[in-house]
Amino acid sequence: MMIEQEWAIILARAQFAFTVSFHFLFPAFSIGLASFLAVLEGLWLKTGKGVYANLYRYWLKIFAVVFAMGVVSGIVMSYQFGTNWSVFSDKAGPVIGPLMAYEVLTAFFLEAGFLGVMLFGINKVGRKLHFVATLAVAIGTFISAFWILSVNSWMQTPVGYEIAANGQFMPGDSWWTIIFNPSFPYRLVHTLLAAYLTTAFAVGAVGAWHLLKDKSNPGARKMFSMAMWMAAIVAPLQVVAGDFHGINTLEHQPAKVMAMEGHYESHPNGAPLILFGIPNSKERAVDYAIEIPKASSLILKHDLNAPLAGLDTIPDADEPPVGIVFWAFRIMVGLGMAMVTIGMWSLLARARKQLYEWSWLHKAALLMGPSGFIAVLAGWVVTEVGRQPFTIYGVLRTVDSASPLDAPAVAFSLLAFVVVYFAVFGMGIWYLLRLMKKAPEAHESALDGAPIRSAGITPAPAVLEGASA
């Protein structure tokens, strides 16, 4: 019986990890893409230059597909708290429920309500109102991130609650304290920048691909240039934001940082930064470690000799899995550094007026196309696995959070999710790649090739056409 229960929990965790990972790929893209579209339409309205209108139409087709996949995979998440984590939901519902309800009320409806107009309405409502619709969708994606990250952050750094006699978490007298819990501002900034970077590198790769084939394509040049500005500015900002986030985590969730750093032992006189190595939880040491002495103390405490506690100070029962966190962290940071490199490289190319000429830069940017998605997932693995063995850090254990379900029920649903997601979203991603493969044209039309919805329900081209000349 005990064994079966353990299986049920492992399966439920696998299912949540699988569905949320797949889901987050889409918002990570659509948050950035919605803002990108708003900028493009704004620039078009301001300058009247056709290249912006063309790019708007080009990326709107992609956005529509991404958004649809984000919506349907997101609905799954809102149910899964209940289907698979019912004890957690019962206990934490009074605190996190209202925040999630605010997400629905202030974000989901806003996005959904204006999406139809954004996709199909330009000749019905006029340019200005259409721009408002685009802005509303972009703002909606931001508000959505705000609330759901507040919920996640509260689970990481729970404050402002009392525990009632029936075991429920009760909100204290200040919602402000709950919403702006200690890790929230850092996580919000880090995640939003990550979404912008993800989009920038995806857009940059598409631009690079088309530049490699035709350096003179104005759409490809413009999108590559815009993406590389984002890379050059946002990637370094993200490094700074990540550093602040790490320091905040050290303060509130030290065990997570110990796992990230691979610090099994405490270091009273400055801790080394382990660049690579293989964490060995049995021997409680990192094998084959390549390390920089005292550098970890420098990064985390801004002092070479600052003492840093290790996992030896954490009770075994409260220790997160070290290997996964350690590796995921290195993947994220490594990709982040590669992003900074591309950004700097592009600045150099721009300064020498070679931005559209240096094909090695284009090849590198193309290779980095999926980097944002991988880095974002790796980052979530760090923070979520690093929170284990708790759902609400330090207060509610994962093993005490799951639904009273039989293991076979969860096994079947997990199998169904895996099959359906790979089939459906696999096809969807394939369609996205096909759309991206097509070069942006001088008269980019929603009609040609594969029309969005059907021929003509997108009257956008008719109106946009006039300005694109």
């Binding site: 609905i75 429920g97 999630m100 199909f120 369609y431 919805r453």
Partner: protein
């Protein structure tokens, strides 16, 4: 007695009504989809709902999100109890949701995505109907959690409610197409609406009678004297509305049959309310037992009272933008 808990129960009730009103017809179109001619007719049917389906489905998220926030105990008991139908519904919604985009993106596989659209819509609807039936027939609760097995939801009654909802949504879909389309497709929709209307009435009758046998509470609510004088209004009104529905259909009205069909749904929901009030898990847990603490209710009520009117306003605007008949190449 009106307190915050009652207000929240009403808000969730409103979300459920809004969901049925708005997503019912677009699921219904999915169910009827294979009966429409490939090409122009299917494109038109799809286009009539393409700009609004996403907003419609948001009410489903609102319903379940609101349940978590306002009645966390109910959320925590109901979802594991309905595990299989809920997962099936979610997967169904995945299929039909992406089909809106994918069928245009991949003409070579349009037939495949059209089938996914139908299958997904049917499964989602059927699962919702089963969920309703499973709730009504009673679920096993111990302490603060669900204590039944993972097949408890399955019974002849829940299968009946599953089919009942399929018929009902299909009727809404047919009425929507009668309103929004022209020509052969509209005539086809009218024919379907005529057949589905009588089928739905039959289903409502069957389900109502079966419901009375499920719990003593339902029986007493409906049939004990003098309450029966009030409750009898519901079946009488149902017959009257059915009559009005057929009259409007015969007079070849565009919009009216849709609203009469919605009225039928409204009466069913009133009937549901009469059966289960004041429970959130029928015959098991009352809304007060499941309610979130006062502070959570107040905080959300502030948000809901500001946001819900705004949402209704811009949703209405969005429908207004896409008003009128839809041609096969979009709204004109």
């Amino acid at each position: 007695m009106i307190d915050l808990t009652v207000i929240w129960a009403s808000i969730i009730g409103f979300a459920i009504i809004a969901y049925v009103v708005m997503d019912g017809f677009d699921l219904g179109i999915g169910i009827l989809f294979p009966f429409f001619k490939v090409g122009k007719d299917r494109d038109t049917a799809m286009n009539s709902i393409a700009p609004v389906w996403d907003g419609n489905e948001t009410w489903l998220v609102m319903g379940v999100g609101g349940l978590l926030a306002a009645f966390p105990l109910a959320y925590a008991i109901i979802l594991p109890a309905l595990y299989a139908p809920m997962i099936a519904m979610l997967l169904g919604l995945v299929f039909r949701g992406v089909a809106f985009e994918f069928r245009w993106r991949d003409p070579a596989h349009r037939e495949l995505w059209d089938r996914a659209f139908t299958l997904g819509s049917f499964i989602a609807t059927f699962a919702q109907g089963i969920a309703l039936g499973a709730l009504l027939q009673g679920i096993t609760v111990e302490g603060r959690s669900y204590a039944g097995g993972w097949w408890e939801w399955l019974s002849p009654f829940s299968i009946l409610t599953g089919f009942g909802l399929v018929v009902g949504y299909a009727l809404l879909g047919a009425c929507w197409l009668n309103w929004k389309t022209e020509g052969a497709l509209q005539r086809q929709a009218v024919t379907y609406a005529g057949r589905l209307g009588i089928s739905l009435l039959l289903m409502i009758g069957l389900i109502s009678l079966a419901t009375l046998t499920l719990e003593a509470q339902y029986y007493l609510r409906w049939l004990s004297y003098p309450g029966v004088l009030a409750t009898a209004i519901v079946p009488i009104a149902t017959i009257a509305v059915t009559f009005l529905f057929y009259r409007s259909l015969r007079q070849t009205k565009d919009a009216q049959p849709f609203f009469w069909a919605l009225a039928l749904f409204g009466l069913c929901l009133i009937g549901l309310g009469i059966s289960i009030w004041p429970n959130v898990i029928p015959a098991r847990v009352t809304i007060w037992e499941a309610a979130a603490p006062h502070r959570s209710q107040v905080f959300m009520l502030i948000g809901a009272s500001i946001m819900v009117p705004i949402i209704v306003a811009y949703t209405a605007w969005s429908y207004w933008v896409f008003r009128g008949k839809v041609g096969h190449d979009g709204y004109h």
